[in-house]
Symmetry: C2
Subunit: 201 residues, 2 copies
C-alpha cells in the first residue's frame, strides 16, 4: 500500500511514463504541483489540451505547426533549393539552433528499422520525392542520426534519390566538440580519421 492518496499515485504513474522522467522525478514533480498554487496545475493542464487541439503537421515538411504550411515553409527567403532531411521534429530544432542552415526541412518521422517493422512506406519518403520538383531542390542534406537505422536510411534515400538530379550530402560524423578521444567509441574515431580535413598542406 502506498502512503500517498490514489489520485496522487495516479499522477505520479502518468508522469513517470513520460520520456526521461523516472519514478523519483515524477514524485518530485507531483509533490511540487501539489505544493504550488492551483494556477500552476490549471495552466499546465490547459497547455496540454491546447497543444493537442491546435498543433498539426505541416502538409509540406511534416514538422509540427499551428499554421499550414508552417512558418519556415511559408518563408520565401528559405527557398534556397537546399532541403535538410531529419528523423524527428526535435532534430530539426537542433539544426535550427546551430544557426548555419538557411534552407527548408523535411521530417521523415522515423528511420528504416526492419526489426521494428518500419519500412519506407511508414516514413514521409514519397512526400519527400514529390517535393523535389515542385520546390526546385538542388541539394538534399541527409541529417538522420549516425545510428545503424539512420545509416540504413541514408543508403536507402541515396538509392531512391540517385536519379532525381539532386546533389546528396551527409552531415559530418566525427568527434563532438568537448569530446575526449579516450572515451569515444571506435566507430566515431574511425569516422573522424577517415573524414579528416586538411589544416595545412
Amino acid at each position: 500500500m502506498s502512503i500517498f492518496p490514489a489520485l496522487l499515485e495516479k499522477l505520479i504513474q502518468q508522469l513517470s511514463r513520460l520520456p526521461g522522467i523516472g519514478q523519483k522525478s515524477a514524485t518530485r514533480v507531483a509533490l511540487h504541483i501539489l505544493e504550488s498554487d492551483r494556477e500552476l496545475a490549471e495552466n499546465l493542464a490547459r497547455s496540454l489540451l491546447q497543444v493537442k487541439q491546435s498543433i498539426r503537421f505541416c502538409s509540406r515538411c511534416y514538422n509540427f505547426t499551428d499554421q499550414d504550411p508552417c512558418r519556415i515553409c511559408q518563408d520565401e527567403s528559405r527557398a534556397n533549393g537546399i532541403l535538410c532531411i531529419v528523423e524527428e521534429p526535435g532534430d530539426q530544432l537542433a539544426i535550427e539552433e546551430s544557426g548555419v542552415f538557411k534552407g527548408r526541412y523535411h521530417v521523415l518521422h522515423g528511420v528504416l528499422s526492419p526489426l521494428d517493422g518500419i519500412g519506407p512506406e511508414d516514413l514521409k519518403i514519397a512526400e519527400l520525392i514529390s517535393r523535389l520538383n515542385g520546390e526546385g531542390i538542388k541539394e538534399v542534406i541527409l541529417a538522420t542520426n549516425p545510428t545503424t537505422e539512420g545509416e540504413a536510411t541514408v543508403s536507402f534515400l541515396t538509392k531512391v534519390l540517385s536519379d532525381k538530379g539532386v546533389k546528396i550530402t551527409r552531415i559530418a560524423l566525427g568527434v563532438p566538440m568537448g569530446g575526449d578521444l579516450k572515451y569515444m567509441d571506435s566507430m566515431t574515431v574511425r569516422h573522424a580519421l577517415k573524414s579528416r580535413t586538411t589544416v595545412l598542406s
Copy 2:
C-alpha cells in the same frame, strides 16, 4: 524566433519550470505528448486538476491526503506512541518505503532557515506540540535531513520538546550503503567515526 509553434513553446516553458526538468527534457516531453494519442494529454490534464481539487493536508500529520485524517492517522495499529518528524511529504515516503517504521508521522513543511525568513511559526511546530499529549507520544524521532537547516531544526525542536516528557531521538548520520569513503565529505566521515558501533568487544 523559435521554430516551434507558440503554444508548443509555452508548454515547453511551463514544463521546464518543474523541478528536475531542464529545457531539453521539457522539449522531449512536449514532443512526446504531441506525438502520442490525444488521450495521453487529456488524462494527464485531468489528473493534474483532480489532484489539486481533491488532495488536502491531513489535519493531524499534515501529509497529503484525500481523506481527513489520513490513512496512517486513522490506522490504530500505528498508534504505538512513536512519532517521526520529517521536513516534507517526500521524506515520509522514503521512511515508509524502508519498511521499518511502524508509528505515525508529523510533516513540518520545511526547516528553520533564518536567511530565507523561515522561523518556527512557519512550520507545523505548534501543531506538533499539541499532538504530544493527545496521542500519548513517548518518543519523537527527528528525521529532518542532515543539512545546516535540518540540524538547526533538530536543535530548536530538542529545546522546545525538552520539558514535554518525551524521549527525543535523531536518525543516524553516517556513510550510506554503497557509499565510498574516498568520495564522502569530511562531515559525513566525522559523523560515521563518532557514531561508530561495536561489532565485537
